[in-house]
Symmetry: C2
Subunit: 331 residues, 2 copies
């Protein structure tokens, strides 16, 4: 079985975007004013993600609302709250339509400067009512201005406490950058991954929450490439080795879009900390002229890596069952 | 010959830090109030950088003031101006004491929101009077708040115009982060490298300045590890291949502190775009228990890589002579 732990609903019918535009324009549309039929949902997914999953042999995707559209920096908590509810409901409907192929991960109604406690109700609803198995946590709801405290700050604890109770992991995933310095998918995403890892490294977060689990997407940003730097910095700070200090709690996905990157990731990072993912259909949709295959067809890179078949199975399935116990329960 | 293109004067006598503290405290000390003897300079360098260069077989370092101490976010232009002059003069004195081992790269008197034109006089002084061969350009003088325009903005052009006239490259190097989200050497540095590359990718900067040259330090941040992503994003944006679009103007150093990272860098990035560097003595000073050698002894990784001897010579010497023509002239 092949589980892709990182997919977003990037192909929603246009009606969703139109509804969001009305909301951003201050019209305060009701959630019920968004009308998307089951047929439209099916069409949007069968011609896109599900088609590619079938082509590439992936069975199941942990699926969440489009990351770049979360845009937590726009409006206030009320706006984010309605928007998250609308987006999560669509994921829920897709999960009902395709229960063997899509399992939800929740978008939170974060808003800059607003106590994360405000997000717990939506998280509860998604996990308990919808049967989602994870959430996306945005460490920078300001959208590239990085005004929230670091992830180890008690500011975030209400979310962590609920995550531990619900036994769900969070993917640490930012949204659109509204800072002109940062290209969203070419800089902000990768920077956030590196930043989140280092925030954890310099903290005692996982001593405080020994069962808290973070998935750091996009192959861990710059971290595996600079693994020597991070091991050395931990040593400089007199911390335990990273294997003890962080690697019971942090996992990297395989959204690295070329063979040498995946080879480095799988060589450097313990296999138990790697989760298969493609972020398909996402930032990089083209065909790599060097290979003739899609950049984001990451299964090929794992298959072609030097890993043993047992290790590949861990990355494709076993690790996800461990990191997402609610998913394992459903399967 | 082995040229290390990335060293900072991190081991200056304590008097420098004391002078800076007085400045930051608002005492406005004069540059002339800093007294460091030639013997103190010799001691600070012979027992540190020069000793390690001899141990490791590096001949010459392109040497600049301590990056994390630039702290352009503190005070105003007048403060940065005096501080940069003080720091650059020390590098100049070291260059006079050890002309075969240290060649200067200038720190600029940047200050948040201040027109970069204000930096040209110090740049001129360092290149023309001191014989420096390069400069460090901080894309984020705010220290982790990223309030300056991206590097392709005309805001920066006065510096680029002078760089082109002087025929000197800039290393794109941030300073201390004063944003608690970003650890300076574990996140901010790497993020800035990735950010700078992406700012160049989405611009026509090198069409406007075909001979402008940027060195992106720390192995290019996350870029080589995600080379497929960047190739794919350029393709998505209908840009020319990166080899034409950026790689006549952008160079990565080898400050990547483990063998798999250097193996990826040298496998993925054209050899003509890689410059030997260690950033010694810098952020990661320890000995890697996995190898028994210092993390930042990067020469070992290059030597152990799969590159041919000719390619290694390019990385150790040939490329630096091309990217830093004033250095080549001096040699």
């Amino acid at each position: 079985m092949i589980i892709d732990c990182h997919g977003h609903y990037t192909t929603a019918p246009k009606a969703l975007e139109a509804w969001r535009h009305r909301q951003v324009d201050g019209e305060k549309p009701l959630a019920s004013e968004l009308r998307i039929s089951d047929d439209e949902l099916r069409e949007s997914i069968e011609s896109n993600q599900l088609r590619l999953m079938r082509d590439r042999g992936a069975d199941l995707t942990i699926f969440s609302p489009r990351a770049s559209f979360m845009a937590h920096h726009i409006g206030d908590f009320a706006m984010s709250s309605t928007w998250a509810a609308v987006c999560n409901e669509l994921i829920h409907r897709l999960q009902q339509l395709y229960p063997r192929h899509f399992i939800g991960a929740a978008m939170l109604p974060q808003s800059p400067g607003v106590d994360p406690r405000s997000c717990v109700a939506e998280l509860d609803r998604c996990i308990s009512d919808y049967g989602f198995v994870a959430l996306n946590l945005n460490p920078d709801p300001s959208g590239g201005h990085w005004k929230e405290p670091p992830l180890d700050d008690r500011w975030w604890w209400p979310i962590y406490e609920r995550m531990v109770e619900l036994d769900v992991p969070a993917m640490i995933h930012v949204s659109t950058s509204c800072n002109p310095c940062f290209h969203t998918t070419g800089a902000h995403y990768l920077n956030a991954d590196t930043t989140a890892f280092m925030q954890c490294l310099t903290s005692t977060l996982f001593r405080d929450f020994p069962t808290l689990r973070f998935v750091i997407p996009h192959g861990g940003g710059a971290v595996p490439y600079h693994w020597g730097r991070f091991r050395g910095l931990a040593q400089e700070l007199k911390l335990p080795p990273l294997s003890e200090h962080l690697m019971k709690n942090i996992f990297f996905d395989t959204c690295v879009y070329h063979q040498p990157g995946i080879d480095l990731l799988t060589h450097v990072i313990p296999v138990d900390n790697i989760l298969f993912a493609s972020e398909m259909i996402g930032a990089v949709r083209g065909v790599d002229p060097q290979t003739g295959f899609h950049y984001d067809d990451t299964r090929r890179y794992i298959e072609a890596s030097a890993l043993s078949d047992d290790d590949k199975r861990k990355i494709f399935e076993g690790n996800a069952r461990r990191v997402y116990p609610r998913l394992n329960g459903l399967l």
